[in-house]
Each structure stands twice: as C-alpha cells, then as structure tokens.
Subunit: 149 residues, 2 copies
DNA sequence: CTACAAGCTCAAGTGAGCTTGAAGTCAAGG
DNA sequence: CCTTGACTTCAAGCTCACTTGAGCTTGTAG
C-alpha cells in the first residue's frame, strides 16, 4: 500500500469528491504535498482529517468554524486522540440542543398542529415578539433560539 | 383589531421579514389580496400558514417541498386541524431519523473521536465505499444516509 | 401642501458549499 | 509518436433562501 495517496484515491476512500478536496485545500481545511509533476500527494492521515470535517459538518458546523477548530491542532506533530477529542468536546451540547429542538418540533406535531393551536402568537412552540436572531439558515423564531427580553 | 393585515404587521407578528414574505408569495407559499393601492393585505389566517412554513423549515424541508405540502390543502375553504395534521404526519419519521443520526454522532464523539478510531474506512460511523447520496447540503457519507450495496 | 414612512416591482447581490468547463501538463501504453 | 487518462489552475456556474438597491407610488401626520 502506497505511502502517499493521489487525489482520486483520497476521493474514493473518503467519499468526498476531488473537486471538494481541492476546495477544502483552498479553504485551508486540508493540505497536500506535491509530486514533481505538481500533482497532489496526501499522507494517509488526511483521511482522518477529512473524517473529522465530514463529522463536524453533520453536527452542523460551517466550514469556517471547522477551519477554526482544525487550526487549533498542533502544527508540527501528528494529532493524538486527545487532540481530536478536545476539538469536539464542545459539540455535545450543540447536538443536545438540536435534538431538544427536534423533540419539541415532534411534540408540536401532535400537540400543536394536531390540536389546531399552531399559531405564531399563542403556540408554545412559537416566540411571538422576537426579532430575528439568525443562528442559521431560515427563520429562527421557534423556541430553542435565544429570546431577547 | 383590523380584519386585514399589512405586510409589516405580518412581518412583525410572524418574525419573518417583509422581503421574505414577498419571496414566499413569489414561490406560491402564501398569497395576498391587494388593496386599491396595490399594497398587500393579508387575512389573519396567513399567520398560521407562515407558522407552518417556519415549522417545516426547522424540521428540514426545503421551500419547494413545503410548497408541495401546502398545495395539498383544500383550495377554497379554511384548513381544519386535521388538514394541517395530515400534512405533517409524515414528518415524525423524518425527525426521528435526524435525531437518531445526531445521537450516533454524539456517541461517536466519545466512542470514535475519543477513542482515536475516527477513520473513514474503519469507524462504524463512516461508510467506506459509498458514492454521494446527496440528501442535503454537505457530504453525506455518515451512517444514516442509505448505503448503496 | 409638504414630508416622510411604507409599499410596490424587478434585477442583482449574498454566502455557503461545491461543481463544471476550458485550457494546459505529464506519464504510461500501444 | 500519438493517444488516453489523471492531474493541474482559474474562472464561472449552480442551488437555496433570502436581502438589497434602484426607481417609483401611496398613505398619513402636521
């Protein structure tokens, strides 16, 4: 098994398109050495880094946030388990909040839409007089986003 | 209290920007009558419709999907509770799947990243040889998306 | 009557996350 | 030698969900 991987090998093994890998490199999420030809050569460790990126995306982080996290890794040595786990230690609460929101929504499906109370000014799933607190795409007025007093 | 609401009143009460309301109208998610001036006038029932839209977005539907759902409502009478609940009846499984994914991710935080096994070809959170099944933004290779055999 | 806020339409811009296309390089096989 | 295919860069395009701006009209308060 080769020491260094080509971009198509990495794409195949990671499931991430080569174009996306170049894009990630552009955004400083990953890096590559170059063969004499100018072609990218990746150490196997890039696969773990990509796994982390994909994982983080599913959790809900933007590429910018992920880049910020990755920049905290030690620059000149291979990251250890604890390096990786330190990065993701804050995610649990993020995941928990999102799960809680989804559970509220699921409850609202029967309790609010089902009972006919779905209404922006009365339903306990809505928060009436808030201005936008844009914590992501789409309107964010459901409970779960901070409610300005 | 006025029978019909202006766009800014609706924006204020719903928390959705006026520009977004015009955009939704363009996409046939909502509709308005017009005053003699050409200004939009909304019946109060639009608030419930908007609530539904916001709700559906948080669940994860695109505006196109939401438009599809809304078009199933009876065209010439006010929707009843059961009309609304019929629309959202399929969402529970969608929410459950997403919650399940988030729980897997949370588990992976300690079991996989924590233990150092985070790796696209070995970790049980990854699915090795899949091609993209784009069921949303970002790469979709983690368990939870269908795995082509 | 005059401000000025609020509304209108239509076109273009935004940002996230990529993909696609054009034009060129390089190594291996026939 | 020539083709094929994998690779390169750079610019442009795309989807989603809106927002912003230009230019114009309407409604309301003083």
């Amino acid at each position: 098994m080769a020491e260094l991987l080509t971009i198509s090998e990495v794409a195949k093994r990671s499931g991430v398109a080569a174009s996306a890998l170049r894009f990630y490199e552009d955004r400083d999420l990953i890096s590559s050495e170059r063969a004499g030809s100018g072609h990218r050569r990746y150490p196997r460790s890039v696969l773990r880094r990509i796994a982390f990126i994909v994982f983080a995306q599913r959790v809900g982080l933007t590429l910018t946030e992920i880049a910020g996290e990755l920049s905290k890794l030690p620059p000149h040595r291979a990251p250890t388990r604890s390096d990786w786990s330190r990065l993701s230690s804050g995610w649990t609460s993020r995941i928990d909040e999102r799960i809680a929101e989804l559970e509220r929504l699921r409850a609202g499906l029967t309790e609010c839409i089902g009972c006919g109370c779905l209404s922006l000014d009365r339903c306990k799933l809505a928060n009436p007089d808030d201005r936008a607190s844009r914590a992501g795409p789409g309107p964010r007025y459901w409970v779960g986003d901070p409610r300005p007093a």
